[in-house]
């Protein structure tokens, strides 16, 4: 006691139940016990009620044959696969559409955010119109617009638009030749990876030289040559171990080749255009947060407008933008659950939709799905927080 009180002579002893520390500990324990009891009660009651109602429970369904098909599968899946397999198919589809859309929305959003601050009146106004339209229309309508309004107008398979190189475009999607890799294709690929690593090394060295001498050695053409020419030469020397599976028009659809389904494309375009509008506003806010003095200082050093943005404004604006981006990425991932309305087989469509209906186990399905989205969101947040620390102002 005396130590805690900073070495002063010990005060009059208090009864333990009047000790504020013991009291606060006691009440926290009581609260914790209440919360645990509440959750236990909820769990126990759910189980008991489901049992009373003869509703199946537990995860016994996981290895049962699913019996339905899914239109887009990144891993092998058929109607004979299990419900568990269907879960992974749905999860991967969610990850794919979210990942692709996040990358595209970031590029588009940054571009539009910058354009909105352009000195060119027309460009700035067009960017404003874009933001106002996409930010203020519900996402579901945007998805319908792209799926039915735009991609739905493509010609039917018999009258496909044919592009050179055996590429077909119709209501069933964009069909392309699928590259079939020969066994020897590994070698040019290894060469490619090696050359990329060397090019990165060259760039790192160039940066060091620049920091030391102020002059940056030119590495662009050398890197380009290494990355493109070396693997190409090896590829040709090995006798070009690559062929193409070309889509062939059948009675209904073209078969063979690979295709981009309109559902996936609509989802990506819809999520990208919608989220980009929000990202653009974040970027604009970030840039406006940088005082005008920075721009003037950069210009007085003779930097061009593009250089000013790239080297002076953006690195500082990122500190404002990144935390905001985080929540846009989270919304985008969660918004991808609208996929079922345009036939995209994401996690919610496959698992909380079809599987839930076949098994009827709503409690299990919804809990698992919520857990998945929670995990995805925490992972995204974790990554963005790490990135945020990286771009934070480095004190020298």
């Amino acid at each position: 006691m005396s130590v805690v009180n900073g070495g002063r002579p010990s005060e009059a002893k208090v009864v333990f139940y009047n000790d504020p520390r013991i009291r606060s500990l006691f009440f926290q324990l009581v609260l914790l016990a209440l919360i645990v009891a509440l959750f236990w009660f909820a769990y126990d009651n759910t189980v008991a009620n489901l049992k009373k109602r003869n509703i199946a429970q537990g995860f016994g369904f996981w290895n049962v044959e699913a019996g339905f098909d899914i239109s887009q599968t990144l891993i092998s899946y058929s109607a004979a696969s299990s419900y568990g397999r269907a879960f992974w198919v749905g999860l991967l589809n969610t990850l794919l559409v979210s990942g692709v859309s996040i990358v595209l929305a970031t590029f588009l959003g940054v571009l539009i955010g910058i354009l909105r601050l352009s000195k060119n009146w027309l460009i700035a106004k067009l960017a404003t119109v874009y933001v106002e339209i996409f930010r203020n229309v519900p996402l579901l309508l945007i998805l319908y617009f792209w799926y039915r309004g735009v991609l739905g107008l493509l010609p039917e398979p018999r009258n496909s638009i044919i592009f050179p190189g055996h590429i077909l475009l119709n209501t069933r999607g964009l069909l392309m030749p699928r590259p079939v890799l020969g066994d020897d294709f590994t070698y040019p690929f290894i060469a490619f990876v090696l050359m990329v690593l060397i090019a990165i090394g060259l760039s790192v060295r160039a940066k060091r030289v620049q920091e030391r001498t102020g002059m940056r050695p030119k590495t662009g053409w050398l890197s380009f040559g290494l990355i493109v020419l070396v693997p190409s030469v090896i590829f040709i020397l090995l006798g070009a171990p690559l062929s193409f599976d070309i889509p062939v028009q059948g009675r209904f659809n073209a078969s063979g080749g690979m295709s981009l389904a309109p559902e996936f494309v609509s989802m990506v375009i819809g999520l990208t255009t919608y989220t980009a509008a929000f990202i653009a506003e974040n970027v604009r806010a970030g840039i406006l947060a940088i005082s005008k003095g920075q721009t003037e200082a950069a210009q007085s050093l003779g930097l061009s407008h593009a250089q000013t943005i790239r080297l002076v404004i953006m690195p500082q604006a990122l500190r404002v933008i990144v935390p905001l981006l985080n929540s846009e990425y989270l919304s985008l991932t969660k918004n991808s659950s609208l996929g079922v309305s345009i036939g995209y087989p994401d996690l919610v469509s496959v698992f909380t939709g079809t599987v839930l209906n076949q098994t009827g186990q709503a409690v299990e399905m919804v809990s698992v799905t919520m857990l998945v989205y929670l995990t995805l969101s925490l992972l995204t947040s974790g990554f963005m927080n790490w990135f945020n620390r990286r771009v934070a102002l480095v004190e020298r």
């Binding site: 909820a42 769990y43 009651n45 759910t46 009620n49 489901l50 009373k52 109602r53 003869n54 509703i55 199946a56 019996g67 339905f68 098909d69 899914i70 239109s71 109607a79 004979a80 039915r148 739905g152 039917e156 209501t171 069933r172 059948g250 009675r251 209904f252 659809n253 078969s255 309109p262 559902e263 079922v340 309305s341 345009i342 036939g343 087989p345 469509s349 909380t352 939709g353 079809t354 839930l356 209906n357 076949q358 098994t359 009827g360 186990q361 709503a362 409690v363 399905m365 919804v366």
Partner: protein
């Protein structure tokens, strides 16, 4: 919607709120003053609201028949439109008293969902619809086709089974509701659209050019559709079941909404039992003994309901076929009221 319902189930199940709904449904219904029916929001002939919000359809009339039996007033009903994948959760959670929404009676649904069927008010089977341009005459020619299907139905499973057992490839596009699936088919995303044949007949009418599409002859599954209730309330199950049988019995005995008053004067012992002038059959269900009179006056007998909603004189133009009475070569058969 589905999230709300699922959340409601979790919340309700967690805190035991549902327990009140499982026993004594009839008492609850009487206290509420109306029957709450889970209904199909968009299948013409079976369940569909018009612009004024008036519901019509065969399933809808079954709901009205239950209300007529209980309250002697077929309008004391409330329809809750449900999508395929929300319907069983809505019934199990007590949101609706009875689900009459062309739902297929299957073993797994009855053994794992906590629901029980009260009968079959329409014998159906799954079929395909294609555009005439494709010149397809049989479902066996659909190898390689893209097929639009609604999510959360036995249809999805039958479709996969059909192509698996015939060793044909196909591509599936699964959409959330029947409207979305039909729309995707209509805009050319799919070569064929599949659902129960009764649904195909109705859906064809809501397409942009109905006459360009044709329903293929194959029936690839058994789809016994009927009303269902929660397990554990036998009184309510009996009531729904016998309302169905009463509609069939009325047709069998020639009792219609027009001649029911005349029939009441009859001395025929069967008619006296059915119409409640003899015996206490209605009371044993918790109803008035004139329950069949109330039903028939309210909505007519099974034949009248069928002809009014889906029969040859309606746009749907379905023949009685399997849904004729057993005495006329069909499958509809009611145990005797005695």
């Amino acid at each position: 919607m589905k999230k709300i319902i699922a959340a409601a189930v979790v919340a309700a199940a967690s805190f035991g709120l549902v327990s009140a709904a499982s026993a004594g449904t009839l008492d609850n219904v009487k206290a509420k003053g109306q029957v709450v029916c889970g209904a199909n929001p968009g299948t013409a002939g079976f369940g569909v609201p018009d612009q004024k919000g008036n519901w019509t359809g065969l399933d809808v009339d079954y709901c009205r028949a239950i209300a007529a039996a209980i309250f002697n007033d077929p309008t004391k009903v409330k329809f809750v439109p449900l999508s395929s994948k929300d319907r069983f959760t809505a019934l199990a959670s007590g949101e609706v008293d009875v689900l009459i929404r062309n739902s297929t009676w299957t073993m797994s649904r009855e053994t794992t969902l906590g629901v029980i069927w009260a009968g079959v008010n329409f014998f159906d089977g799954q079929g395909f619809m294609v555009n005439k341009k494709l010149n397809v005459k049989s479902a066996k020619e659909l190898a390689g086709a893209t097929i639009c299907v609604q999510q959360g139905t036995t249809t999805e499973l039958n479709l996969a089974d059909f192509f698996r057992s015939n060793k044909m490839e196909y591509k599936v596009v699964t959409l959330g509701t029947s409207e979305e699936a039909l729309k995707a088919f209509d805009t050319g995303r799919c070569d064929a659209y599949t659902t129960d044949r009764s649904g195909l007949a109705a859906d064809r009418l809501s397409m942009s050019k109905p006459d360009d599409n044709v329903i293929l002859p194959e029936i690839i599954s058994k789809e016994p559709l009927g009303p269902l209730v929660r397990q554990g309330d036998d009184q309510w199950l009996n009531l729904v079941k016998w309302v169905h049988f009463a509609l069939l019995t009325a047709e069998e005995d020639g009792i219609t909404s027009k001649n029911v008053d005349e029939k009441l004067k009859s001395d025929d012992p069967e008619l006296k039992r059915v119409l409640g002038t003899e015996g206490k059959f209605g009371e044993s269900l918790g109803l008035s003994n004139a329950w069949v009179v109330q039903i028939v006056k309210g909505v007519g007998n099974y034949e009248e309901i069928f002809e009014r909603n889906v029969g040859p004189n309606t746009p749907i133009q379905l023949a009685r076929a399997s849904n004729a009475l057993w005495s006329k070569g069909g499958l509809q058969y009611a145990p005797p009221i005695r």
